[in-house]
Symmetry: C2
Subunit: 382 residues, 2 copies
């Protein structure tokens, strides 16, 4: 405490410096257990290699150029997915050469940016509307760019995507006939199935998605259109798509970090998904302890997204995070063990929107800060 | 669409440029109706002046130096509140001269930063622990600074704060006896009462808080300690504290913006709080429309905090936001009126954590962008 001036200054939005001990990292910070993270990356690489399918890792989870590069260089990824043009701009600027915007881009200004970006990297985009095909083709033509297009089908999530079958073939036809565009295949992501708890119910949802995707592939073939890419899957379902015989690009994102909600998704043995372990935590301090059986920590809604439930205290079955407000969490402390300035690791309820709240990942190995990675595309929602 | 190059470039994290029409603002962006915002600021100023109490506006809502300055220069605020040392650092750097950290600061590194900041501005902080008094005094002494301290009492919210009465007096005594510290009064914020729907139930909660605060003031007086500041209140309760005869500083934050949850809080006539109107919206576009009775917009969890419920579509009783995911919202469109690229204003469920997701406020008047304000302390959680 008396030699603070001899240490790297942290504060404002910078929680740590390389070389600090974990105990010295400012709270509330987003920390990554690098051993667990690297193990998760290696596990999925090996599983997908065995299944003979590609990984196009989803960067919406992490929004980090450093992590995207690691997924490509070490994790077997052929490229990445983004959800927003602005995310893609950041990733291409960071040296990523193969980017799928796994989402519709329909705004004229964004379409223009997408076409310009396609001059710098391989760019793919999802389409579910015929008028959108025309707008994309016009922009590609204007800039002399090529945009590869996946037709997105709604295979059960009821979000974006046209109906499987004839509607999808009509859009694919239109893409194939448009200068500046190339028909590259199908986007068939069953997002609503990722967090279904029961393995059997998840299988039922995926069986249906796979059947609809197969039917659409067949109808496309009947129209003389072949799919280089059949894409979809997430951390909760890739097991099914990878074994389907028709999907060839997996878009898993959360597998690198996991979160409290994904831990409630069960495998075929009724246990939690066990091949990936928690590598992402919010590091928090006790900042008020005035009641015997409760304590208050400094991590609330501005550093933890509560949409999928409250965070879980890592490695401490005796402590429960019971309520959240903007800057505080109340913890049940039934054995009155917590003291002021004690520090805890919280497993976020939902990793993606939690990462988007932070400016930095603090990479930890052997209780030391090994690296700081900027959340390069944080806030890039446009 | 063909003359995009003649327009200011937006993209990455910049949604707009001054002079654009609202229709041209990139989505999903955080927009402020400047007329409604200014009217809200003027309304609270006038109400608190009539009640003879001060406003210390809470900057946790907006995290914006521009808005804080406006609240002081135009809104009658004597200063501002922050929740984090990093927020206070940003506000002092932005020229704010009177800042209460309405929260506990117990980490040694943060205490050091707080004491250094007190050399540049009037700094007040809340305390609920005797050992924390010693640590604050040591830091103030080390830097030759003065920290004014409010003893925080738990008057019903069960978050931070000591029990009212003797425990509070003991801490106040210790502050008064510590070099570098000044005892400035009480923090008595009933945070749990702000969103109670029923006026009568809210009054019951506040009656109890006011009674406990008055008792503590009396016990402090018995110990020879007087309270320059008796602070608390929020947008949902200031009516009670301002009329209590004992509170003299109101800490309202949300009144400048309002949100969907505050609209569900009722006044004494059983109507919604009517003195403030919605000035804060997330501007969103329809980016997929493949089903007759639904549409998908581009504003999800990364631009809207869902902790207090889903957003409400402003001015459109015919459209309902029915489900949220990371980058999407699904809208019920029972009359099939929405079309691709239509734009809507969404009232966030909860304003504070929503603002913290954005980098810019886009200020709108008469359908034109009048200003861009950075969310200066966004992500400043340390």
């Amino acid at each position: 405490m008396n030699d603070l001036c001899d240490k790297p200054i942290v504060g404002l939005n910078i929680p740590a410096a390389v070389g600090m001990t974990l105990a010295e990292v400012c709270t509330p910070a987003l920390i990554v257990d690098l051993d667990a993270f690297e193990s998760n990356v290696a596990t999925l690489r090996s599983r997908l290699q065995s299944a003979g399918v590609r990984l196009r890792a989803h960067s919406k989870t992490h929004k980090s150029v450093d992590i995207a590069r690691y997924q490509i260089e070490q994790g077997g990824a052929c490229g990445i997915c983004c959800q927003k043009v602005a995310e893609a701009e950041v990733m291409v600027a960071g040296g990523i050469g193969d980017v799928l915007v796994s989402n519709q881009v329909t705004d004229p200004g964004k379409i223009d940016r997408l076409a310009r970006l396609a001059l710098k990297a391989r760019l793919l985009v999802c389409v579910d509307d015929p008028a959108n095909v025309e707008a994309l083709a016009a922009a590609a033509g204007r800039h002399g760019a090529t945009l590869e297009c996946l037709v997105e089908i709604d295979c059960g999530a009821r979000r974006c995507g046209v109906e499987p079958g004839a509607a999808a073939v009509a859009i694919a036809d239109k893409i194939a006939a448009s200068g500046g565009l190339e028909f590259a295949g199908l986007q068939a992501y069953q997002g609503a199935a990722q967090h279904i708890r029961s393995f059997d119910e998840r299988r039922t949802a995926l069986d249906s998605a796979i059947r609809q995707t197969r039917d659409t592939i067949d109808q496309l073939a009947g129209a003389g259109l072949s799919c280089d890419i059949v894409a979809g899957a997430g951390t909760g379902s890739y097991y099914f798509e990878a074994g389907s015989g028709i999907y060839n690009e997996m878009q898993c994102g959360s597998y690198i970090f996991m979160d409290a909600d994904y831990q409630r998704v069960l495998d075929q043995n009724g246990a939690g998904i066990s091949e990936f372990s928690n590598s992402l935590f919010v590091w928090t301090s006790i900042m008020s302890k005035t009641r015997e059986l409760e304590a208050v920590c400094d991590a609330g809604l501005k550093v933890l997204s509560a949409d999928s439930g409250l965070p879980v205290v890592y490695g401490r079955d005796d402590i429960e995070y019971t309520s959240i407000s903007d800057e505080h969490g109340v913890l049940a402390d039934p054995h009155n063990r917590l003291r002021l300035n004690d520090k805890l690791k919280l497993i976020p309820g939902h990793c993606d929107p939690t990462c988007n709240l932070h400016d930095w990942y603090v990479g930890i190995r052997n209780d030391r800060v090994e690296c700081l990675w900027p959340v390069s595309a944080r806030g890039m929602a446009f």
